[in-house]
Each structure stands twice: as C-alpha cells, then as structure tokens.
C-alpha cells in the first residue's frame, strides 16, 4: 500500500530546525504532491527520501524513512542502492557532460543493466519522454545543445533508464516555459501507473491537476495531508484553507 513511510523525521541545518516531526505515508503508484510556501522545507523533505541530504555535511537527521519496510537511515544501508531505486528529477534540467545518448545510457551502464541492448533501452526511454523524434539524428551531439524543455525530458529519460521504483521531482517544471511544463506534467501523469511519484510544487494549480495525495507544509511542519479530492474540497485546518485561498504564502 505504502511505498514510503516517514516516521518522526527531523532535520537540522547546523542549528536551524527545518523539518519538525514529520510523519506521513506515501502511497504506492500514486502521485503525492508536497505543497507549501517557499522555505517551508519541501525540498529538504524530498531529498531526505533518497538520502541526497547526505551531500550536505552540516545536515543532521533523526527519525525514520521506511522504504518497502526498511529504514533507509539504518547504519548498514546501501545508499547507492537507495538512490538507484528512488530517482530524482531536479528543478533545473542538468545534463551530464556527455552526449545525448550517453546521458541516458549512463545509469544503465554503471548499474550493469541492459548489456548488449543498451541502444534499445536508450531508444525506449527517449521515446517514452517524447524526445526520440527530435534527437534520433544527433544522439552523439552534446546534451547541452538541447533546449530547456528538451533537456528536462532528457533528464527524465536518464532517471527512468535506471529503472527506479520511486521518482522524486523537485519543482521540475518551474524553470520551463508553459508549453514544455505542460509536456512534462503530462509525462508525469502517465508515469503514475508504473512508479510511485512524489512531487514538490508551489503551484497549487499544478497540484490540483496532478496529485492523488497532498501534503501541506508550513515552516517545517506538516499541517495537513490526505487524498487530493477531500483535501482541496474541504481542507480541515485554517492554515490550509488560507493557503489554498492564497491569503497567506
């Protein structure tokens, strides 16, 4: 039922307490949207889910994140494995310094997937994100030559090529033009059949369009969460009501 279960998660940057006692479950094969105003800890929560927070030396974490029943913060955890199974699509598209083909092939290569049929994997993923027709004649060209929207689709293909179970997206459409953003949105909606998605957005409308499940954060605390229908129709907390009505935030 739940792909991820977050239990009493606390995060500090140095002395600053940025996530306070977060407890929430992420349903499998659905889209969970994390919403809230800038600086409330959405990205921090997202990055705590695949231990990307570890890259920051000043960060301290307490509590648990259970992924398929296993706490990923257990000392014996294989962090590389966690990050392989829980992929991330960042806010800004960021290609690796290699060709279009190699960007998508990179993950499968290091994980030893698709020996011998690497080209098929790359083709399939590029088709899945609707980029194939645009790039099939220049697979060897640098990925930096693509437009922003194309790059973000490439990054999505690259993440999916690793065959993750969960996909985390941190405002992945925020830096794109409206048309490209809609394209990515449509892709994400289509992915919910195969993947568990967690997306951060501060665009309430986007959350309405995409989310099955919503988590509302405020100053590092989880205010309210639940299925999207009731959440948007009848939010329980005053704070949520005010935020959805755009009176605060």
């Amino acid at each position: 039922m739940y792909a991820l279960s977050i239990r009493q998660l606390n995060v500090w940057y140095d002395k600053q307490h940025v996530l306070k006692d977060i407890t929430v479950d992420v349903p499998r094969r659905q889209i969970t949207a994390i919403i809230g105003p800038s600086g409330c800890g959405k990205s921090t929560l997202l990055k705590s889910l695949n231990r990307l927070l570890d890259l920051n030396e000043r960060v301290r974490v307490s509590g648990q994140v259970l992924f398929e029943g296993q706490n990923i913060y257990d000392p014996g955890t294989d962090v590389t494995d966690v990050r392989t199974r829980i992929g991330l699509l960042a806010q800004k598209p960021f290609p690796l310094p290699m060709s279009i083909f190699d960007n998508v092939a990179y993950g499968p290569r290091i994980h030893g997937l698709g020996n011998g049929h690497l080209a098929q994997i790359v083709t399939a993923q590029l088709q899945a994100v609707g980029l194939w027709e645009e790039v099939k004649d220049r697979l060897k060209a640098p990925a930096t030559g693509l437009s922003g929207g194309q790059q973000q689709r490439l990054c999505l293909a690259r993440t999916l090529a690793v065959a993750p179970e969960v996909l985390l997206c941190d405002e992945s459409t925020a830096s794109l033009d409206p048309i490209s953003a809609r394209g990515i949105e449509a892709l994400l909606r289509g992915l919910r059949e195969k993947y568990t998605l967690v997306l951060v957005t501060h665009d309430i409308e986007q959350a309405r369009r995409l989310a099955d499940h919503v988590v509302f954060m405020w100053l590092g605390e989880l205010v309210e969460h639940g299925p999207a229908g009731p959440f948007f129709a009848q939010p329980e907390q005053k704070l949520t009501q005010a935020y959805l009505a755009r009176e605060i935030g």
Binding site: L52, L55, T80, G87, A90, L96, I110, P142, T144
Partner: protein
Amino acid sequence: MKRTQLRKVKDRFFTWLMRFFLVTAAALLGLILLGIAWRGVGALSWEMVSQSPQGGFYLGKGGGILNAIVGSLYLALGATTLASLIAIPVVLYMHVYARGGRLANNVRLTLDIMWGIPSIVYGAFGFSLMIFLGLRASLLAGIIALALVVLPILARTFDEIVSMAPRHLRETALALGTTRLEFLGVLLRQTAPGLLTAILLAFGRGIGDAASVLFTAGYTDNMPESLLRPVASLPLAVFFQLSTPFPEVQARAYASALVLTILVLAISLLAHFSMTRLGRHVIR
C-alpha cells in the same frame, strides 16, 4: 547635467587607460618575441636543430642544440607526467572524498607554499639528496626536481578548475546511484579541458626552468641516453652560449631561446585546439 557629464568623462578616461595598459602588455609580449626572433633567426639553421654540438661548438664551430631540445622535452615530459600522477588523484580526492574538510585546506596551503618556493631551492634540495644517495646528475634526478617545481602549479590550477565545476553535477550523478568513484569519472569528464590546460601550463613552465635542473640534470653535449645519465636542456644551453665571449655563439643562444619559445607557443596552440574538441560536452 554637469554630474552626468563628469561621469561620462570619467568612464571614457578609465576605458582608455585600461586600453592603454592592455596594449602595453600585448606590446611587451610582442617586443620580447620580436627581440628574440631578431637576434636569433640569423643563427637559426637546420644544422642548429638537427645536430648535437661538435668539438669546439662553444667557440663557434659546427653542430647544434638537438641534445638540449630532446633533453628539455624529456625533462618536461617526465616532470609533468610525474606531477600529474600525483596531482590528479590528490585534487580529485580533495573534491570528492575530503570535500570542504580541514585536510583539503591543509593540502591547498601546502601547495601554495610549494608554489612560492624558488626553483633553485628545489634544485639545491635535489642536489643534496643526490649527494646523500651517492647519485650523479641525471635525467631522473632532473625530472624529480622539476616535478617538484611544476606539481603545485598543476595541482592548484586543476584544483581551481574542479572548484568551478557546477555544484549540481555532484547531486545529479549521485542521484542516479553512482558511487563516489563513478562520480569522480563524471567530474573528470567535466574538467578534462581544464586539466589539459593545467598540464600544458605546467609543461610550459617546466620546459623553461633552468634553476632546478642546473645541478640535478647536469649538462652534456651528448644526446640523452638513459635515465641515469646527465642530459642537456634548452635553458642551460641558452645560458652557456650566452656566457661565451663570441658573438656568433651568443647569436646561437638567441636562436636556442627562439626554439624554446616556439616549442612553448606550439604547445599552447595545441592545447587551444584540442580543448575545443575535448570541451564539446562540458556543462557551462
């Protein structure tokens, strides 16, 4: 009204001042190149670059400086290779494993101090080491002393280049489930053109250094034979020929300097062109 005019005058004045110094710097380079070419080109001949010194070379008789050209190339090549073997892992370790830590900062400080030490000190150090070990001046000793000179240049330049790699590179690679070693590979791809620049900078600096090889590599009129025998070098060839009282030998000194300069220029151009190819995929 008056104020805006004054600001415009100021702007123009400083623009021209900067242009003036720009031209001065360029002119200085041009002057040096021209001066060397002017005095050296007359003595430059096929014989100069294709033969070793014959008997009486330093009195104005036949022969050339091939021994010094080849010797210098060996010395600089050996030293940059040795320095790269040390510098590249050190820098990558600093950025991937010891990021932002005390260790990285201490290494940086050490390298900066090493950079400041005059090369004659490395030469003297190498010389005393040789005496201690009972060795003679040799290509190997020269390479080691010269490697100490170029190591900080190479390492710190590469260090700065790796520092300029986008912050997101790390997050992006690690989010795909790479190990740190695999991330290191990505980092190397991103910084390859810069690394090449650092290596060639070190090479250019190394090939022109006289003080470190003076005692350690020695000098010989023979072509380099083995790692354990002395070798000639271009800077010392210039020095020895320039210190003779004979004008024709002095002219050859300028020709030797010209050869040295052309070598360095050729390397810079090579770097420039290979960089555009290597830099195709770099994220800016």
